[in-house]
């Protein structure tokens, strides 16, 4: 991943008072502008009409199984970390009609969906989420088939990244090499700076379109001091990571440990509720539902988000392949940080911490990975005693 240094890239300053102008430009250009707002007791993504919709002066406190909104003592627009939602809400909608069909004699005819592309402008994309979008691009934009719905939404999306001004208690993007500074994929990237009485954004352009949009808004070239403050914001964020994960040879670590006793341990805590897969910005599994109307003349196929934690997910005649919670947690975590690498050439984890925050029983992927890694020497000795000792130690640690 390239890491452009702040020194040789051109930076601009956009004063806080002109942020509205930026949103106006995007709206005028036909974008459906979506971004963060306070709703349902969290920071969620919704349609933005004005700066006032942003979570001004709000932040979030996050830990395993815990999320609270809190007032900040300033008026920052993007002073939170990440909420439960990610941009897959728009790129990979939770329910999508793939086609309709009508009966014609004894046969049927497929009626394709009218793919009116929705031009989204994503405002406030974090670096971890930019990586998550890039990971889903590998799934849906490449490969033999790809997904036409995802492709059209993605191709038209405008990305306004805003670098994190603070890290959350469950963040570990530094470990996953996915943040906190956004380094690619954006049209415009900004760092919010509150310094003394000044409130401004230091901006970088990533595309010509980004530059064009910026130029519709009053801005100036950033000076050294302003760039220094912006870099300092990111540096401080990087130093605040609430979690960490050692990713050294993590694929083989998991491949060697399909039968590690830790899976039994986590299964005793996991509720198989699927929260982690729903909040994960890279989890992409879907199911299809075929339905008819009462006359039986009209049928539809819907694609809906699914989760490997449900019993139905792996059902084949005779029963589910992964009937135990142990097997389902193992599937999710092994997929996320190990098999994903073989499938798509990248980890499926971006270190956003959502799965930790939104797990009702505070299961922590970084802790589960650590437990397996730390028991490795014991396993290598391959003594039953060593394995028992490992399990015992983990139980004490909880």
């Amino acid at each position: 991943m390239m890491a452009p240094s702040s020194e040789n890239k051109e930076h601009f300053v956009l004063e806080r008072e002109y942020f509205q102008k930026l949103l106006d430009t995007l709206i005028q250009r036909g974008y459906r502008v979506v971004g963060p707002t306070v709703g349902e007791g969290a920071i969620v993504y919704t349609k933005l009409n004005s700066v006032a919709d942003l979570p001004i002066g709000w932040t979030d406190e996050q830990d395993g199984g815990a999320y609270r909104l809190k007032k900040r003592d300033d008026q920052s627009l993007f002073g939170y970390v990440v909420g439960p939602q990610s941009w897959k809400k728009f790129l990979l909608p939770s329910a999508l009609r793939l086609w309709q069909a009508k009966r014609v004699g004894k046969s049927f005819q497929i009626i394709p969906e009218d793919e009116k592309s929705q031009k989204f402008a994503f405002v406030g994309v974090r670096s971890c989420d930019m990586h998550a979008i890039a990971i889903q691009d590998k799934i849906f934009m490449n490969g033999q088939y790809g997904d036409s719905h995802y492709k059209s939404r993605r191709a038209d999306a405008f990305i306004l990244a805003v670098n994190c001004g603070k890290a959350g208690g469950t963040c570990f993007c530094v470990s996953m090499n996915t943040g906190p500074k956004t380094t690619f994929g954006f049209d415009l990237a900004m760092t919010e700076v509150l310094e003394g009485n000044r409130h401004y954004f230091v901006a970088e352009t990533g595309t010509e379109l980004g530059a064009e949009i910026l130029h519709t808004t009053p801005h100036k070239k950033a000076n050294k001091e302003e760039i220094f403050y912006a870099d300092d914001v990111i540096k401080k964020t990087a130093g605040q990571m609430g979690r960490s994960m050692d990713t050294t040879d993590i694929k083989n670590l998991l491949y060697k440990n399909y039968e590690h006793p830790r899976w039994d341990n986590v299964a005793e805590r996991c509720l198989a509720c699927a929260n982690c897969t729903l909040v994960c910005p890279t989890c992409f599994c879907t199911t299809v539902e075929d339905v008819t109307d009462l006359t039986g003349e009209h049928a539809e196929r819907w694609r809906k988000l699914d989760s490997c934690f449900t019993m139905d997910f792996s059902y084949i005649h005779g029963g589910s392949v992964r009937s135990s919670t142990k097997a389902r947690y193992r599937q999710w975590m092994t997929h996320k940080i190990a098999t994903w690498i073989d499938q798509f050439g990248t980890s499926g984890c971006v270190g956003c911490g959502r799965c930790i925050t939104w797990c009702p029983v505070a299961i922590d992927i970084t802790e589960e990975a650590r437990a397996i890694r730390e028991s490795e020497p014991n396993l290598k000795r391959e003594t039953a005693e060593g394995a028992e000792k490992t399990t015992h130690n983990h139980k004490e640690g909880i």
């Binding site: 793939l98 033999q144 399909y258 075929d290 008819t292 049928a299 392949v321 190990a338 098999t339 073989d342």
Partner: protein, 277 residues
């Protein structure tokens, strides 16, 4: 890339429905529009859609050299397969496919071929037998070891006779249990392996059946000297899309729909046989 949307089922006419056993049927399909016919490689599968009911992955059980007709053998075990079995001549079924990896027919040239099938696992292997008998001289000994629950559950009984008598295929059959009038073998399919004629050093084995049967067959074949890299198995997993996007068919690092269903055994030693992968 195929310009046709891979998620759109294409209507096929049902030309014939043949009852194979009390719960298993073969449907013969004919394209409504596609004048060229349906081309596939032995081992591939289709997603079959019953209007308004749903869709299931079913392997293709017909002859790859006859693209004008498409055969699927289905056992009625769920809502969709039961609906398929109720369909009548003249009705319509939606088809998406073919998907997945084929059996290693090229790699098998000049070698002995040992086919081990359990139950309806014979269906995805029948296209292999059609290909082998059409090019019989290019292969060494061909052995079909076939196990079913009872003699009444045996598929394609007339063809089994033909393959044995007319095409020099060593067909051995066993059943789990039978009435007194059954004069054949009783026992699991693995018991047939030591009795079969093949040169283990120059043998390609192809297995399809329940996972537990595959597991014991792998052990027995290797005990008899067949190398792991020459053993191929066909796996079954839940599938919703058939094109590697829905995530349901994951089996370790693979997607059974596009990396399988046919796998070379030595490439999956780490995951095969582990519970609930």
């Amino acid at each position: 890339m195929d310009t046709r949307n891979p998620m759109f089922p294409v209507p096929y006419y049902i030309r014939r429905v043949k009852k194979e056993t009390h719960d298993t049927f073969t449907i013969e399909l004919e394209p409504e529009n596609d004048a060229d016919g349906f081309f596939f490689a032995p081992g591939q599968f289709n997603m079959l859609y019953v209007f308004g009911v749903g869709e299931v992955p079913i392997s293709i059980s017909g002859d790859p050299a006859r693209p004008k007709t498409l055969w699927h053998t289905t056992r009625a075990v769920g809502a969709v397969t039961r609906a398929i079995c109720k369909l009548k001549r003249g009705g319509t079924l939606g088809v998406r496919g073919p998907f997945g990896t084929p059996w290693p027919l090229e790699e098998s040239l000049g070698n002995d071929v040992v086919i081990v099938a359990g139950g309806i696992g014979l269906a995805p292997l029948r296209p292999v037998l059609y290909r082998l008998i059409s090019q019989r001289e290019k292969y060494g000994n061909v052995v079909l070891l076939y196990g079913a629950r009872t003699p009444q559950d045996l598929l394609y009984t007339q063809e089994l006779e033909d393959w044995r008598r007319r095409f020099h295929i060593e067909v051995k059959i066993t059943v789990d249990s039978a009435e007194k009038n059954w004069s054949g073998n009783v026992g699991v399919v693995t018991t047939l392996i030591p009795k079969a004629q093949f040169d283990p050093q120059h043998t390609v084995a192809m297995i399809c059946g329940p996972e537990v049967m595959i597991r014991f067959t792998l052990m027995e074949l290797q005990k008899n000297g067949v190398k792991a890299e020459n053993i191929f198995v066909s796996m079954e997993r839940n599938m919703k899309c058939g094109i590697g996007l829905c995530g349901h068919c994951q089996f370790g690092p693979t997607f059974v729909c596009k990396d399988g269903p046919v796998f070379r055994y030595d490439r999956m030693v780490n995951i095969f046989g582990k519970r609930e992968i």
